[in-house]
């Protein structure tokens, strides 16, 4: 099971395009895999004949678990001990790269501490475990046991990225500074949280074990398998609520000028044949500008053991989208460098891709801040859960006309309420308040948003 997105921990086989005995050429679509974010086609990376399918359509597999066997079609010696996970255990050994007759679909990632493989086990008869020199050195220095690690490098080589999790828990891990070079490589404390792998979704819902199995007649309950997307939402947001000490700061802005500006802009844009801008487009840019003014908000907590605050120089704003399959957050990169029209166009495209489940992993990763807007449903205001590894999320309510004090009189004005949820580990109340003050000022002086 390949890793097809940064947050993916397991995938479901959607459709096999090839069947046992079929000839497969490198580059041909082998299988469609449902990840936490999308259904993606996965291409064969080398020629061969599909010998055996190990994970059937509708079944799940952890990253790194073999999902099929390719061989050269010679009908030669059977694939080495079909590593199908009869139990929930997974094979710890990387594929044997020199075995010509059976190349496994490449494995991907750390088995992690949750995979209970006996330490003494060397699955493929004591053959050398492939690991990069860097990994071998780090393993020596940190007393890591690599026998539990599945390599995601070429030929199953264990690479540095595969042992990040182990290093984080190793006694002397403090010496290893995490990579801060790229937003997308920010280790998510959530994706590495050792949530036990869920049992494979049963084909027949009625036999699903656990709470649903206690389906009782008094409540007329039945179990319905959750989609991959739903399960990831459940896991990640539970982790967010459990591990991030959230606090909330709410503000209200006079949005009259913002609404007027929007009308004025659209009056010019529409005759010119250009797309209208929305309040949300203006808010995306306002948030990006506020983040630029308060870079301390554009950060991630590096994890308890790292002692590092990850400061992001790029401002990548995620926009929460209520897709049919569930919540998804496509990311607009470098939002602070784009005009309102560009942001609007990009947001529209991402939303429509989300609806079609065609977002690529690149389009749903690398965010540094998220906006969740439920204004269109008329909610006054609400609070949102932070989307890790980000440190703040803005929950936006509806823009409504209500009585406001203007000077000494009451007047009907458009007003907008919004709540910033903040990770208190890295952002204090005063900073959150200052950020909101900047944001409010931008909304109340909206020409500054487009200036």
């Amino acid at each position: 099971m390949p890793r097809l997105s940064d947050t993916m921990e397991e995938g479901a086989i959607n459709t096999w395009h090839k069947h046992p005995g079929d000839t497969v050429a490198a580059g041909e679509v082998l299988v469609e895999i449902e990840t936490d974010k999308a259904v993606m086609e996965y291409e064969a990376y080398q020629d061969g004949v599909l010998a055996e399918i190990l994970v059937q359509e509708g079944e799940n597999a952890d990253i790194g678990a073999p999902i099929a066997l390719l061989d050269d079609g010679s009908g030669g010696p059977a694939a080495p001990a079909s590593p199908r996970a009869e139990s929930t255990e997974r094979t710890a050994a990387p594929p044997e790269p020199s075995a010509p007759a059976a190349a496994q679909i490449p494995a991907a990632t750390v088995a992690g501490p949750s995979a209970p493989v006996p330490a003494a086990e060397t699955v493929n008869g004591g053959s050398r475990q492939l690991a990069s020199p860097l990994v071998r050195k780090l393993a020596r220095e940190n007393h890591l046991d690599l026998s539990h690690v599945t390599g995601s490098g070429p030929g199953g080589r264990i690479i540095r990225a595969d042992i990040n999790g182990l290093l984080a828990t190793a006694p002397s891990a403090a010496a290893q500074s995490p990579s801060v070079s790229s937003v997308s490589s920010v280790p998510s404390v959530y994706s590495s949280a050792s949530v036990p792998a869920a049992p494979a979704v049963a084909a027949v819902p009625a036999v699903t074990p656990g709470a649903a199995a206690e389906a009782d007649e008094t409540r007329g309950t039945r179990g319905v398998p959750m989609s991959q997307v739903r399960r990831v939402i459940a896991r990640r947001l539970a982790a967010s609520a459990r591990e991030i000490p959230h606090f909330y700061v709410t503000a209200v802005a006079d949005a009259q000028d913002l609404m007027d500006l929007r009308v004025a802009l659209n009056d010019q844009l529409t005759p010119a044949g250009r797309a209208k801008v929305s309040v949300n487009d203006l808010l995306i840019r306002a948030c990006a500008l506020a983040l630029r003014e308060h870079p301390d908000v554009n950060v991630s907590y590096g994890g308890d053991s790292s002692g590092v605050l990850l400061v992001h120089d790029r401002i990548n704003v995620g926009v929460a989208v209520a897709a049919e399959s569930g919540l998804i957050v496509p990311v607009i990169r470098d939002a602070d460098t784009k005009t309102v029209s560009q942001l609007g166009a990009e947001a529209r495209k991402l939303v429509s891709l989300a609806a079609e489940r065609k977002l690529t992993p690149a389009q749903t990763s690398g965010g540094t801040f998220t906006i969740s807007n439920l204004g269109m449903y008329g909610v006054e205001h609400f609070t949102a859960l932070i989307n890790p590894p980000e440190s703040a999320i803005l929950a936006v309510g509806a823009t409504t006309r209500e009585p406001a004090v203007v000077g000494d009189t009451l007047a009907p004005r458009y007003r907008l309420r919004y709540t910033l949820s903040v990770d208190h580990r890295v952002i204090d109340g005063a900073l959150a308040a200052k950020f909101l003050k900047t944001l409010t000022s931008l909304i109340e002086h909206p020409w500054m948003i487009v200036a």
């Binding site: 860097l134 070429p154 690479i159 937003v183 690149a362 389009q363």
Partner: protein, 342 residues
């Protein structure tokens, strides 16, 4: 600081050195009346006269030998081999004499000789006139080989080569003569044997020299803009001595390296660089060192074939992506900054 071409930097430095030290003189084919096949010596015959700017017959072995003799007796000859391909006619003089005299004869004479010569293909000059055979000289103890990639280094390394007491092969490149850059006005020779980190980075070390150092910088800048990649670029500048310490230090930081060379892959300069990294930074490598070199064919004359044979920017980018994929950076290209989707 003055902006000038690589060609101008070479010309101005030659002239300045001839003004500074009257022992410095030039020899070569067509360098005087014709002012040099690539016009590096333009105007110098007129200014310095034919005693110091000597047009020679088409006889590389002859004028190389004459220059070696002159150097042994106290002059500081700078000879021009019209292209590095023609220097093969003088291999015996250069390798068996220039490189060995100091060591073989107990240090009785030094050979402060500079051999200026351009390498490089891409000009449709055919298989025998498009080679990159600096390796022949970098292979030989007793020689020094420098390969500037920028106008500033053209000046600094030429100053250093002329003032060095050993024979120096000074590798120029046909594709670099018209490139422009800042050149310091100061008289500041480079230290021969010192590579330069021309762009610091953390994701991968990209190593090149001469034209490929130039390509490396361009690719690193373009991948930084398109993909946010943080690539460190090392310009070798000197092939012998080779600055292994700088290579090793860089790879210890980035854990991955791609080596670029215009010559052939097998037994090439990149092989030595890769071996040096494996030797000095073995415990820091997270992926094998990858090399990008010319196709293993005699250079074709036909333009499309010549272009295909030379290492391209796409080849370099492909090698970088493969290496980054091997260390776990598999994410597809992020959307470009203008928001174009995949």
């Amino acid at each position: 600081m003055t902006i000038m071409t690589y060609r101008q930097a070479l010309h101005d430095t030659l002239r300045a050195e001839m003004l500074r030290d009257e022992r410095v003189f030039l020899m070569g084919e067509e360098i005087g009346v014709f002012e040099g096949s690539y016009k590096i010596t333009a105007g110098l015959l007129k200014e310095f006269g034919d005693k110091r700017v000597r047009d020679t017959p088409i006889a590389e072995e002859g004028f190389a030998g004459a220059a070696i003799g002159a150097a042994m007796l106290g002059l500081r000859p700078v000879i021009e081999m019209m292209t590095i391909n023609f220097s093969m006619l003088a291999l015996d003089q250069i390798i068996n004499h220039a490189a060995k005299i100091y060591g073989m004869f107990g240090g009785q004479a030094r050979v402060p000789l500079v051999i200026r010569t351009p390498g490089g293909g891409g000009q449709q000059l055919g298989a025998t006139h498009s080679q990159n055979i600096e390796l022949f000289y970098a292979f030989v103890p007793g020689m020094k080989v420098v390969a500037p990639s920028t106008p500033a280094d053209a000046k600094a390394l030429l100053l250093a080569a002329i003032r060095d007491d050993d024979p120096v092969l000074f590798l120029e490149n046909l594709g670099l003569y018209n490139t422009k850059g800042d050149v310091p006005d100061a008289d500041a020779p480079a230290e021969i044997g010192r590579a330069s980190v021309t762009r610091p980075g953390n994701d991968l070390t990209l190593i090149g020299y001469s034209r490929m150092a130039h390509v490396a910088s361009e690719v690193a800048a373009s991948l930084a803009a398109s993909d946010g990649l943080d690539i460190e670029v090392v310009d070798l500048r000197s092939l012998r001595p080779l600055d292994r310490a700088t290579l090793v230090e860089s790879v210890k930081k980035t854990h991955a390296a791609v080596v670029l060379e215009d010559d052939w892959l097998t037994y090439g300069i990149g092989a030595e660089v890769a071996a040096s990294i494996s030797d000095g930074a073995f415990d820091y490598l997270d992926a094998p060192v990858r090399r990008v070199a010319m196709a293993e064919v005699p250079m074709p004359y036909a333009k499309p074939l010549e272009t295909a044979a030379l290492p391209s920017r796409d080849d370099v980018i492909g090698a970088i992506r493969q290496t980054l994929a091997a260390v776990g950076r598999r994410a597809p290209r992020p959307a470009a900054a203008n928001g174009v989707a995949q």
